[in-house]
């Protein structure tokens, strides 16, 4: 509401920046992360590598964090647990791959990636509509079970339908974009359509330059572009939640019977929310494919994909939107740290490399320390994540962001931070909206 005149730029811009200090700070940290990672691992070597996930890991975290947010969008705000949300992730991922390979009727092969991404999102929204027609007749655990059942059906299909894999390979091993001999290479271009400087090729063999900067590593460019897409999706979902429509979603979560009694056709709003969340869930799936170029049933339609989103949402705070994203980072961080998963750092390589050989070979009742590390840490990330999840449910049921909000006595940490910063630095006049 401020109409102050400044020479440094339009007033609304200053106000916008002041109101979104926290968001800007967090985005800045994410932008700086690849460089920080390089710097810290150079400086502190294996100690930093132990704690920090690699940029490549961060890429998948971004995509799956978006998926966790899309899960929270419907589950945390309308109260309908979308237990089969992996279906939409899978639809998004498979649509991009199969669409590119020309296996989807009416979709010509080798369409631009951005188009496939958005089309996949729309297909997922239509799927959500059909699933909703059946499942919104029920509530509570029955709704969750119907959605889970449908996603399991898709899982079985994706595991067994030969049509998915052109040639003779087993569909359960997954399918790669650009695999059939008559299609070109999969070179997904992500960015704002028709604005050339804001587009770049994503993937391990993608562009190394963006906006004229040469980062010397396609991973970093992919990380920025996928990160930007995730940020855009987050802002869009947040905007919807703060709209009149979003307020109806919350009313349904709080008390659906009363929401109907005051005049809302709640079915319509639940369906809308479900379709929107399916759209963004599919975008997450498509973004994952953009980097890795392949998809398999285990990492898309499998029910544990929803399971991790649910765990991330509970750790981060159901019904906080941003919470599940950070919950997912936390969860992955724990898995990476406590158990060697893939090629990442973590506690085990750190100990193996820093402890003297003599210590590693100390025998503890039949096991050397080295063997014990192998037995308890290699590939057991889920085990430790599970323990942490149980602790969260028992002691912090409202999650990280939920707890933070409660402690600060606010319903928006971002507004709280903006207010505090304004108080401290005596920002002239304009108050952030309550």
């Amino acid at each position: 509401m401020s109409s102050e005149k400044t020479t440094r730029g339009p007033a609304w811009l200053g106000q916008y920046l002041r109101d979104h200090i926290l968001l800007i700070a967090i985005v800045a940290i994410f932008v700086a992360y690849p460089f920080l990672y390089g710097f810290l691992t150079n400086q502190f070597g294996i100690v930093a590598a132990m704690i920090l996930p690699e940029t490549r890991t961060m890429l998948t975290i971004l995509a799956l964090g978006l998926f966790a947010m899309s899960f929270d969008f419907v589950s945390g705000y309308t109260g309908y647990l979308s237990f089969g949300h992996a279906a939409f992730f899978g639809i998004g991922a498979y649509f991009v791959v199969m669409g590119f390979n020309g296996q989807i009727p009416l979709v010509p092969a080798e369409l631009p990636f951005m188009l496939l991404l958005v089309l996949g999102g729309l297909v997922a929204a239509v799927a959500a509509f059909l699933i909703g027609l059946i499942s919104f007749r029920l509530s509570g655990v029955y709704f969750a079970m119907i959605t889970l059942g449908i996603s399991e059906v898709l899982y079985v299909i994706s595991n067994n339908w030969d049509y998915i894999t052109p040639g003779s390979s087993d569909p359960s091993d997954g399918v790669a974009a650009g695999a059939p001999s008559d299609v070109g290479f999969f070179e997904p271009v992500l960015g704002i359509p028709f604005v050339d400087p804001l587009n770049a090729k994503v993937g391990p063999f993608g562009d190394e330059t963006l906006l004229g900067f040469d980062f010397g590593d396609p991973e970093i460019v992919s990380y920025f572009l996928i990160g930007a897409a995730v940020l855009l999706c987050y802002l869009a979902m947040k905007r919807i939640i703060h709209s009149p429509f979003g307020k109806v979603m919350i009313a349904i979560r709080e008390n659906e019977e009363r929401a109907r009694a005051i005049g809302y056709n709640t079915f319509r709003y639940k369906m809308g929310a479900f379709m929107i969340s399916a759209f963004f869930g599919a975008i997450a799936g498509g973004l994952l494919v953009a980097y890795v170029g392949t998809i398999d049933p285990q990492n898309s339609f499998f029910f544990l994909v929803t399971g991790f989103a649910l765990v991330a949402a509970i750790i981060g705070g159901l019904g906080t939107l941003a919470g599940p994203f950070f919950g997912y980072i936390f969860l992955e961080g724990v898995r990476e740290f406590l158990a060697r998963e893939g090629s990442g750092g973590g506690l085990q390589p750190f100990l193996e490399q820093t402890l003297p050989g003599g210590v590693l070979n100390i025998n503890l009742g039949g096991l050397t320390i080295n063997e014990a590390l192998d037995a308890f840490m290699t590939g057991h990330g889920e085990f430790y994540a599970g323990i942490i999840f149980v602790l969260f449910v028992l002691y912090i049921p409202i999650g990280l962001l939920g707890t933070l909000r409660q402690r600060l006595g606010t319903d928006s940490v971002a507004k709280y931070v903006s207010r505090r910063v304004a108080d401290r630095f005596g920002s002239s006049g304009s108050q952030p909206a309550e």
């Binding site: 905007r239 919807i240 703060h242 709209s243 009149p244 429509f245 979003g246 307020k247 109806v248 919350i250 009313a251 709080e254 008390n255 019977e257 009363r258 929401a259 109907r260 009694a261 005051i262 005049g263 809302y264 056709n265 709640t266 709003y269 809308g272 929107i276 909206a433």
Partner: protein, 272 residues
């Protein structure tokens, strides 16, 4: 405003509402009757929460009677028939203001807007604040509904029902469980909302019923046994027989004393 024609609802072999012919005018009508008389069932039928077994319900929409027998709850609410609940039924974790604001937003087309911030729709806030002022909750506007006292929750119940400028208000025991000090406040609110709405009130407190009603309808075992002004109801032997369980004529006052004694016993029994 609203009328029923041989309205009947049976649950299996039990007739909860039987052949009720009733018309609510622009007045404060109380619906009384012993527990299980079918008062809440009647409310549920009027709002569409239950489907009648037989009979019709009509609503006077700007001078024209329309059949609303098959309408469901959100459709009757959109028409202008709002209700409050016997058991508090609010949106617990959101603020008192938001409880009323979301109800105000239900009227009109704004609820499908998903790309503008809710703060841009001033009139819902203005309406909600005016209603909170009316039900005496304005200073509690920012409190989460679940943190209100029981009496305040009853006020909020009425506040939510008021939002969206309804034509008919169905108030289901707005005083249920309210302490004796709180009752006057709720009674004032009932009298106030009756000045510009047609009100159908279910109430067990005879003091309030006799005091505020223009007209009283007595239900017993699903049937209307009396429909008159308070003075005549007071002297109606059928009513006393059915409702008061065979007290002597003119003994409504005794019944009133009895309920007051019950209440003081309950209060004294350690119920805070």
């Amino acid at each position: 405003m609203i009328r029923t024609n041989e309205l009947t609802k049976r649950f299996g072999g039990i007739t909860a509402t039987g052949d009720v012919d009733f018309e609510l005018g622009d007045e404060l009508t109380s619906l009384i009757g012993p527990n299980g008389a079918g008062k809440t069932t009647f409310f549920n039928l009027l709002t569409g929460a239950l489907e009648p077994t037989e009979g019709t319900i009509e609503f006077n929409d700007d001078g024209e009677w329309i059949d609303i027998t098959d309408r469901n709850t959100y459709e009757t609410a959109q028409l202008g028939i709002h209700r409050s609940y016997q058991i508090t039924n609010v949106f617990p974790t959101v603020s008192v203001l938001e409880n009323v604001r979301i109800a105000a937003q239900a009227h009109g087309e704004n609820s499908l807007r998903f790309w503008r911030n809710v703060d841009a729709f001033d009139r819902h806030y203005t309406e909600a604040e005016a209603i909170l002022d009316r039900v005496d909750l304005l200073e509690k506007a920012d409190v989460a509904a679940e943190n209100l006292s029981h009496g305040e929750k009853r006020q909020l119940e009425v506040g939510i029902a008021l939002a969206g400028d309804p034509d008919v208000l169905l108030l289901d025991e707005p005083n249920a469980g309210v302490s004796s000090e709180g009752i006057d406040k709720v009674k004032t609110i009932i009298e106030d909302v009756a000045t510009d709405h047609a009100v159908l009130l279910v109430e067990h407190n005879m003091d309030i019923v006799m005091d505020v009603s223009d007209r009283i309808v007595v239900l017993n075992q699903g049937e209307v046994i009396a429909d008159d002004d308070p003075e005549n109801i007071r002297g109606n032997p059928d009513v006393q027989e059915a409702y008061l369980g065979g007290y002597e004529a003119g003994d409504l006052d005794a019944a009133r004393r009895r309920t007051e004694e019950d209440r003081s016993t309950a209060d004294g029994g350690g119920v805070a």
